[in-house]
């Protein structure tokens, strides 16, 4: 039989995969999706705790995290479009090119 601890272990494993993807890849889309994967792992642990204590506050917290992730997605994707227009590349090492150039006026 499974218990709530199995969900904890799954959340820890998914979070570790997210960290590995975040550090070892240089493609910005994969890095962004690794961040989203870490948020989802935390959501699993929050919902499992909410089930363990029979208290709905954990589920409401998970809803808040999903709303924040949606706001984050819009900002990230606007940044990606800016980066791709400037550098024609998805390499995270080009990200310093997004710095605003100095205006001579």
């Amino acid at each position: 039989m499974i218990d709530v601890g199995s969900f904890f272990i799954l959340g820890i494993l998914l979070f570790s995969i997210g960290i590995v993807g975040m550090i070892s890849r240089r493609n910005i889309f994969v890095m962004y999706m690794s961040v989203e994967l870490m948020l989802n792992a935390v959501n699993i642990i929050l919902v499992a705790l909410s089930h363990h204590y029979e208290d709905l506050n954990g589920q409401v917290m998970a809803i808040m995290i999903i709303a924040i992730a949606a706001a984050e997605a819009s900002i990230f994707l606007a940044l990606f479009v800016m980066l791709f227009k400037n550098a024609r590349s998805l390499d995270a090492n080009f990200f310093e090119l997004l710095k605003q150039e100095k205006h001579n006026d």
Partner: protein, 167 residues
């Protein structure tokens, strides 16, 4: 018994597709395998009694966020030469997994010392109860989330705006 079987199927699907996500070279393959991860996580939420979270996960994550990512990837028209050159990708991933696994092992052994109750599948986490919680105790964070979304909207418009030159 059925819940055990469902848990193992969903957990294996999410772990395999999450690993595939960080291995794929093309971002569109990563995104499609990330959708599979999100859907299996939605199934895990349903298994834990979060019926509203199950809906929200499918509608917002798999429906809105990942579709937005797919739309941007197709909109950018990424060619082979636009992708970053990662000759030692597999080496990096294996090395980082070796580095992260001790911390995961410590956390898992800590969790294993806690005595958890087995999964109970009675009526818990109905949409009405979640909504009552959201609109009474969590009303202030709920309103602050709306302000956060407005700030994100303004930020995206400013980022996407054409830079007007002064000369």
């Amino acid at each position: 018994m059925l819940s055990t079987l469902l848990f193992f199927i969903l957990a294996a699907t999410s772990l395999i597709s999450a690993s595939a996500m960080i291995f794929f070279k093309q971002p569109i393959n990563s995104t499609l395998s990330f959708i599979v991860t999100l859907l299996s996580i939605a199934g895990l939420f349903a298994l834990l009694g979060g019926s509203f979270l199950f809906l929200v996960q499918i509608i917002i994550y798999a429906g809105a966020v990942v579709t937005l990512i797919l739309f941007i990837i197709m909109f950018l028209n990424i060619k082979e030469e636009n992708l970053p050159d990662e000759p030692h990708k597999t080496k990096w991933i294996v090395f980082m997994s070796l580095l992260v696994s001790p911390f995961a092992a410590i956390l898992i052994s800590t969790v294993n010392t806690i005595k958890f109750a087995p999964l109970h599948l009675e009526n818990f986490g109905s949409i009405k109860a979640v909504g009552m919680k959201l609109f009474t105790k969590w009303i202030l964070p709920f309103e602050m989330i709306s302000i956060l979304l407005l700030i994100a909207l303004i930020g995206v418009v400013i980022l996407a705006k054409k830079e007007t030159s002064h000369d």
